[in-house]
Symmetry: C2
Subunit: 181 residues, 2 copies
DNA sequence: TAAGTAATGTCAGTCACTGGCGTCAAGTAG
DNA sequence: CTACTTGACGCCAGTGACTGACATTACTTA
């Protein structure tokens, strides 16, 4: 992170990172499959938290409500990690190669969430769609929360999921949801 | 494509591709920024078709209906290109590096669609969410269409968007939508 | 403490990609 | 028709991400 922030991702070599960490370059590549992966280490935690939260959600909830519940719960990880994830996201945002990897990670998380939904007897076809849709809302909320930390992540989540529902509703509902911030 | 299909993406070098095309390796990299990009050349066409279709959609439509309309229209490009895109997708599917790039392309298309929606006065916050959500449905439909070409792409699209609506509906609606295939 | 195992260092090699430079072909102005 | 520009291509050398093979060191455990 230090190096990536100082000189940018593209201009820091794997050898530099290894040196800064006090190890050999070869050793670096034994810990991380590639240069990008360094920034996506906590992903396993988030995945575990998410799938577990989906599994633990109250039984009678609808797919999207299940996801909202799960995202609220897993969101605490984000809130706790904000000091770390903020510079991290800044680096990712300005590096196309890292954005690609981020999207791949998200896709993998979405698939895990979809699978967790299927375990809850959400119909197969709906599970994938619900996971992607819910994730989109989650992602929007997280982005809004980064830009505007004054509100809680939960508040941003509620709004994003309301927007989602408004999308499938009537014109009036959609416009209403848009007007109320 | 020949080489990627014969020996896989990872095991074909840029030099081989260049040789097969009868040019120098350096020339290859002057035409494509990198090895992956070769498989994503038609993207500009799809983007143009999509944004134009969104712009041309009947005025009174809701965001998601606008997208359904646009995807139907742009879907013809897919139908016409099926012989090309089928082996292409097969190669992408088995190569993580290519899947990453595909996700990046999709993200870029989604952003273009979102922008097209904003041009139609879809509220800012809703546009991004609608684009991602609609794209998810489109993608599911396209995938289903690849797996089951018996039905038309339009039919798959209708079903996917119905699923989408069912997600925001009541439990009964969702289960009903799932039962009807 | 000795044997075994896992982590690290060293070295050489492959390959994607880049900058610099010379060549050659196709205009284009005069 | 000629001089001049422009653009596509080939050639060469270099950087840097990774990888495999093997030696070495650190750590466990009997």
């Amino acid at each position: 992170m230090e190096l990536y922030r100082e000189q940018g991702f593209d201009r820091t070599t794997a050898a530099e990172i290894a040196a800064r960490a006090g190890v050999n370059e070869r050793t670096f590549f034994r810990h991380f499959p590639d240069k990008r992966e360094v920034l996506f280490d906590g992903e396993a935690d988030l995945r575990a938290a998410l799938t577990q939260a989906v599994a633990e959600a109250p039984a009678p909830l609808q797919p999207l409500d299940t996801l909202l519940w799960a995202f609220r719960k897993a969101g605490r990880i984000l809130e706790d990690n904000r000091p770390f994830s903020e510079p991290r996201l800044a680096v990712i945002a300005v590096t196309p190669a890292l954005r690609e990897r981020e999207l791949a990670k998200h896709a993998s998380l979405i698939e895990a969430v979809a699978e967790a939904l299927r375990q809850r007897d959400v119909p197969d076809r709906l599970a994938g769609l619900a996971a992607q849709t819910g994730w989109a809302a989650f992602h929007h909320a997280a982005q809004a929360w980064i830009d505007d930390p004054a509100r809680s992540l939960d508040a941003h989540l509620s709004r994003a999921f309301d927007d989602l529902r408004a999308l499938s509703g009537t014109a009036q509902e959609a416009k209403y949801a848009a007007r109320a911030d």
